[in-house]
């Protein structure tokens, strides 16, 4: 392991993935032959436009004027005092248009789809945040939008389903398998195989075949870049740690990536511990899974001994996914980032505390990151700065929260 770390030192942020999308043994393109051509077309288009000044300028313009960036890095003073240790800073992705970091990526991919002349957009969604962010950009640029969503999630996330429909998207219920996010992804892949000529698939997380993991990371890296600038502005130095929740891992990789070569900054990903890692009822492949191949890439997965993907559990639909972006698998193996888990109960407790102490309702996903920060802050000195990526707002979760407390809205 040490040798691996030595050999990749110095250029973590520039050198990976390789030209075929590999992060060490992870990533790659594990897809059916029919998708190889559209995926290479996308690889070529992305390789070209990521360096194209006009594309970059348009992306930045949209982030500023449509998304509302930069959003603040907010010093949660009362929370920090209450914990009595490290200073807690919140990166306010919840203040973006549509209420989460997901819009950073959908704006980027929609601009790319326009340049590639694709007019039909498909997407998968779990909690509905990526679906809403995709429906939003499709409305913004007048593109057809089809969102695949597990039947189970459609029930759990009714307000977001209605939002997508308001924005003009068609929401297709997925009834196969466990009827959740992974099955929605399977169904979107099947749609893509059948409609490769005119369709662009906007994947919502930093997973899938190359170039998706790198592309989704790059579009979300604005999070980490702003954290860096804002930390210097507020404290005169880089933070001691950046903490983010990890489902597929798009907000986390966006927050981490600009810091990969700043070795003094600790990077901590927090997975969904569900009922507890020891119960097996969780969604924490990095903490308790093993490497395998699913959805176009090699990465850590929740799977049984025969290689079948197993059902996951989390109170937050956005983290309820059996895989994780391949770059996280690699960062775990080389030791550059650390991955831990927070349980449903810890995330709920953190949600309530943030509501009461700071007047911010966090998404249940983001509350996992917050829960871990609240665990470690008291043991650290008051001169330490911890950034928590508040990846989304919690309005979408009020039905879930009410249900848990036995309240009918």
């Amino acid at each position: 392991m040490n040798t691996a770390v030595e050999s990749v030192e110095g250029n973590l942020s520039q050198q990976y993935p390789d030209s075929r999308g590999h992060f060490g043994i992870y990533g790659g393109s594990f897809i059916a032959e029919t998708l190889m051509d559209p995926v290479s077309e996308l690889q070529e288009a992305y390789a070209r436009y990521r360096l194209d000044n006009e594309f970059i300028a348009e992306f930045e313009w949209e982030l500023k004027n449509f998304v509302g960036r930069p959003n603040p890095l907010y010093h949660a003073r009362r929370m920090s005092e209450e914990l009595g240790g490290a200073q807690i800073w919140l990166k306010r992705e919840d203040l973006n248009h549509t209420g989460a970091h997901k819009i950073n990526n959908t704006v980027g991919q929609a601009l790319l789809a326009r340049r590639m002349g694709k007019k039909r957009i498909i997407a998968e969604t779990g909690a509905g945040q990526h679906g809403v962010a995709t429906a939003t950009v499709c409305a913004r640029w007048g593109m057809e939008c089809i969102v695949y969503m597990g039947e189970e999630d459609i029930v759990r996330q009714a307000p977001n389903v209605f939002r997508m429909k308001l924005l003009g998207a068609k929401v297709v219920p997925v009834t196969s398998g466990s009827r959740t996010l992974k099955d929605a992804l399977n169904e979107a892949m099947r749609d893509w195989v059948g409609n490769v000529d005119d369709t662009f698939y906007i994947i919502g997380t930093a997973a899938g075949p190359h170039p998706y993991p790198a592309m989704v990371r790059d579009f979300n890296s604005v999070i980490g870049k702003e954290i860096k600038e804002q930390s210097l502005e507020h404290t005169g130095r880089l933070p001691d740690a950046v903490i983010a929740c990890v489902g597929g891992g798009s907000n986390a990789i966006g927050a981490f990536h600009p810091f990969l070569d700043d070795k003094e900054v600790e990077l901590i990903g927090v997975e969904a511990g569900g009922d507890g890692l020891e119960t097996g009822r969780h969604a924490a492949p990095l903490s308790a899974g093993k490497p395998g191949v699913l959805h176009g890439n090699r990465t850590y997965l929740m799977e049984d001994e025969a290689g079948q993907i197993i059902e996951t559990h989390s109170v937050s639909a956005g983290l309820d996914y059996p895989g994780v972006g391949p770059e996280h698998s690699w960062l775990k193996d080389i030791g550059r980032a650390k991955y831990v888990a927070a349980t449903d109960a810890e995330a709920l407790d953190a949600t309530h505390k943030l509501c009461r102490i700071e007047g911010i309702i966090p998404a249940l996903e983001s509350a996992h990151a917050l829960a871990y920060a609240m665990n470690i802050a008291p043991s650290l000195g008051t001169d330490k700065n911890i950034v928590v990526n508040l990846s989304g707002r919690g309005d979408k979760d009020i039905n879930t929260l009410a249900d848990i407390e036995g309240i009918t809205l």
Partner: protein, 271 residues
């Protein structure tokens, strides 16, 4: 090494086009699968593609997805699928068997162990749908070492530069996916398939099989004019869905469907 069963099947009779039925192993249970393999041979199958059930069959339509779910209800594993081939070999040493599935079960078992067990059981070739040749070096090396063929897919979207590359990497036969879509879709254009198959043959020095979207004797016969082999899956798997609880009906309908294809193909070949 002696000639493989796959190569021998293609070499046997240059006028006979091969019929390659697919069924999902363990659907609805492994004993039925074993009996069905023998029925398929009686009906005129030359090579059997045996599906390895997977929880997330991304390239498959609803029919084969449902078959995977039925098989996985009984926790059918890759090792058990391989053992079923071993049982098949107790009474059949001629009909080639190809395992078809997704990477993850193979990945978890380990390439070397998988290749060893499969070869020992009498498997002849392996086709992993989500493993393009670009990612396949290690697995192909292990399969090669024990004399198993690595079968790869080509599709209507594959550009010529890749057709050449895939043909060089493949052994046994090339599997041409005749339509843009998942298994069981139904928008097959016979003339277009024929011209594409002719084109692929100019690159390939191994036979070309065609599958996806072949559902009856007529389409099998039409495609067999140009293709070296016909793969048929979803229509057979639907029979298992419909008659899985009635063995007599299941075997009869399976025999009738496959045999009708066999006869139609032979007739077309003789004409």
């Amino acid at each position: 090494m002696s000639q493989s069963r796959i190569a021998a099947s293609f070499a046997k009779d240059s006028n006979r086009k091969l019929l390659v039925p697919y069924i999902t192993a363990g659907d609805p249970n492994l004993d039925t699968t074993l009996d069905l393999m023998h029925t398929l041979v009686k009906a005129g199958a030359d090579v059997i593609e045996l599906g390895i059930p997977f929880s997330d069959p991304m390239a498959d339509g609803p029919v084969i997805q449902a078959a995977c779910e039925r098989a996985l209800k009984n926790n059918v594993t890759l090792v058990q699928v391989i053992e079923t081939v071993k049982r098949f070999r107790e009474t059949n040493n001629e009909t080639a068997v190809v395992l078809m599935g997704y990477m993850n079960p193979v990945e978890i078992l380990g390439y070397k162990k998988f290749a060893g067990l499969a070869s020992e059981a009498g498997v002849d070739g392996v086709l992993t749908v989500d493993l393009p040749p670009e990612e396949a070096d290690e697995l192909v090396a292990e399969l090669d070492a024990v004399g198993l063929d690595s079968i790869f897919l080509l599709s209507p979207t594959t550009p010529d530069s890749r057709v050449k590359h895939v043909c060089e990497k493949a052994s046994g036969y090339i599997y041409y996916v005749s339509l843009k879509g998942v298994t069981g879709a139904a928008n097959l254009d016979t003339a277009e398939v024929a011209s594409k198959v002719e084109h692929i043959k100019s690159f390939a020095n191994i036979p070309v099989a065609v599958g996806f979207g072949i559902r009856d004797a007529e389409s099998a016969a039409a495609i067999s004019v140009t293709a070296d082999a016909i793969v048929v899956g979803s229509v057979l798997v639907s029979l298992v869905a419909d008659h899985g609880d009635n063995p007599d009906q299941l075997h009869q309908s399976m025999f009738d469907t496959v045999n009708a294809m066999r006869l139609a193909m032979d007739e077309t070949g003789a004409a």
